[in-house]
Point group: C2
Chain length 358, copies 2
């Protein structure tokens, strides 16, 4: 058995208001006054107080990016091109501020500033050859685990797949639960369920070990506290941020499963956002995760979340075929969920029937 | 409020048999054939199978060190002197294999190879100026959390105190539960209780935050599983190794408390080993940690652990005075346990009365 030597985020600061320490944290990483920090920020913060607190110096730059769509390889390539054209030297670092979309873009841009070609060439496992430039992740919504993972999931021309590599994780993470204050309720639910579903998939997977299990169990407990118990809003923000962190660590050393494999297909074809996509799929997976789906429905009911229906009602055979092929391409996810003989268990027709329910 | 930007171990490998991957892991860190790896190994492994699996190359060196006594600053200084005299250049790295004593020695030696003077000058908080050389921690007994902490606790000429710094944590940790196979029962109990007591102190401390709490709760749960439930030996080894890891993370972002402050005094004066010292103190701390002490006694009973008595029976007033002074010197621990006005709560006489019970 060969084990992965897992890269952890080497620096983390946690606490309400810790965002105010960002300037001090990145100061020693400034190479010189010509090498800027590039802040990639979710466009929802445009004109908001958060922006006034960004520690801009010299020729640092803020780029607002909409998170309405999943991050794309073309988007990464365009950002890298822009940065290279604007500056004579490599930036001091890339700082992503937002949800999974912004965090994944920041990781990918940091990688592609030192690796040649298109980011789509690096979608897969361990294809990145050179270390990324210094990059910082600052989540403003909790659940994806992108702040701690060794992947950056991108929509490419041919597939939705992560750039999984030892150079992907952030060099620094700032966990400031106060930054999640303004998240709308639906998004709070869908993104938190990304974490919840990670845990269910990790804890029920064949790749599970005591390391992943301990993180997954803790993250799951925290999700239960946040979504089933009645705790204060402040405590809820704190706990969901830690749930996301531990949930990310859990899958980092194991893998996700059926829901993620299917949700990638759904996103690829229809552009469905990752959080809601997972929920759309997961509700129909009782046969694989009976307890997990039951509790998911309790949470959904408690928070009065109505999932859209008929998403796949009018798809053509070709469209289903494409979705199924993208999904089947995620071999490690299926292996984790169903074991080495997963292809015997999850046939084309069975997967098609599941997609038709959505 | 100012938060600590905490350094995490940037690489970790987990799994039974993962020790076999050590050679491959350290290979890229070999500077050249003249710069050796120095393996500091607990002397109990002398002549054992583990030694044959050490990936020795070129002029690498194994140094066996007894863990019968707590690690000392003089010992660190002597090891550094020896290494500097033996080799023309700095080693490629230091690898500690053993319990807390060996791990702390490895961390301290790695620091002192690049920082001048005696290690006793660096006992305290953030006194280290230069990065340590590459260092790897491989625990062979679980509980201390030394594999993940930013301290290396040393007995100095004037005090028992850690070198707490951002340069202290290991660059790489190998978590191989199989390495804990031969640990004697008493040591297994005392070292595991170090973790248990960390958690109780962290979770009941005034420094607690959601980050520490989530790690501390998980570590505590794992301790309960290991010491109160009837699980298999293999599962128990896995879970205790993860308990130590999470327990270490919990105190990393908060602090220990009364038991550790007192146990440092006990160790300093009488050379009592850290694990048993914590137990000797903790059993008398019902007034501070009522639930924690109750469960501790259940665990002790289940595993038929008899703690020695009368340890402080024949001490002189001067000896008590010294012990109390060392203990009171650990200000952050008392602040965490009892709050800013701890000196009003824990008077000299009250502490003396507690020590007299041991």
């Amino acid at each position: 058995m060969k084990y992965r030597n897992f890269p952890m985020v080497p620096r983390v600061i946690f606490g309400n208001g810790s965002f105010a320490q960002l300037g001090e944290i990145i100061m020693p990483k400034r190479k010189n006054s010509e090498a800027p920090f590039i802040f990639l920020i979710d466009a929802v913060f445009e004109g908001k107080a958060l922006v006034t607190e960004i520690p801009l110096l010299f020729n640092d730059q803020i780029v607002f990016i909409s998170a309405d769509e999943e991050p794309k390889t073309q988007q990464v390539d365009a950002l890298v091109k822009l940065i290279k054209e604007t500056y004579n030297e490599l930036p001091s670092g890339i700082i992503g501020i937002g949800g999974g979309t912004l965090l994944d873009l920041a990781k990918a841009v940091a990688i592609m500033l030192t690796n040649s070609g298109s980011s789509s060439e690096y979608q897969g496992w361990d294809l990145v050859k050179k270390p990324a430039i210094y990059h910082v992740g600052i989540p403003t919504i909790s659940g994806t685990g992108a702040e701690v993972s060794r992947t950056t999931v991108l929509m490419g021309p041919e597939k939705k797949l992560g750039i999984n590599s030892d150079f992907t994780p952030f060099d620094q993470v700032v966990l400031d639960p106060d930054l999640t204050l303004g998240v709308p309720k639906e998004q709070w639910f869908y993104t938190g369920m990304d974490c919840y579903i990670h845990c269910i998939e990790s804890l029920n997977g064949t790749f599970l070990n005591a390391f992943s299990q301990s993180y997954g169990e803790k993250a799951l407990e925290l999700c239960h506290e946040v979504y089933l118990n009645d705790i204060s809003m402040a405590e809820s923000r704190d706990k969901l941020m830690m749930a996301s962190w531990h949930g990310g660590m859990s899958i980092a050393y194991s893998q996700v499963g059926v829901a993620h494999a299917m949700s990638y297909g759904l996103s690829y074809l229809l552009g469905v956002k990752h959080g809601i996509g997972n929920c759309l799929v997961f509700q129909h997976l009782e046969e694989f995760y009976p307890d997990g789906v039951k509790v998911f429905k309790q949470m959904q009911k408690k928070h009065q979340i109505q999932l859209p229906t008929g998403i796949c009602a009018n798809l053509s055979d070709e469209q289903f075929d494409l979705m199924i092929n993208v999904s089947f391409g995620l071999v490690p996810l299926w292996e984790n969920a169903l074991g080495a003989n997963w292809q015997e268990i999850m046939t084309y027709d069975r997967l098609l029937a599941l997609f038709r329910k959505i």
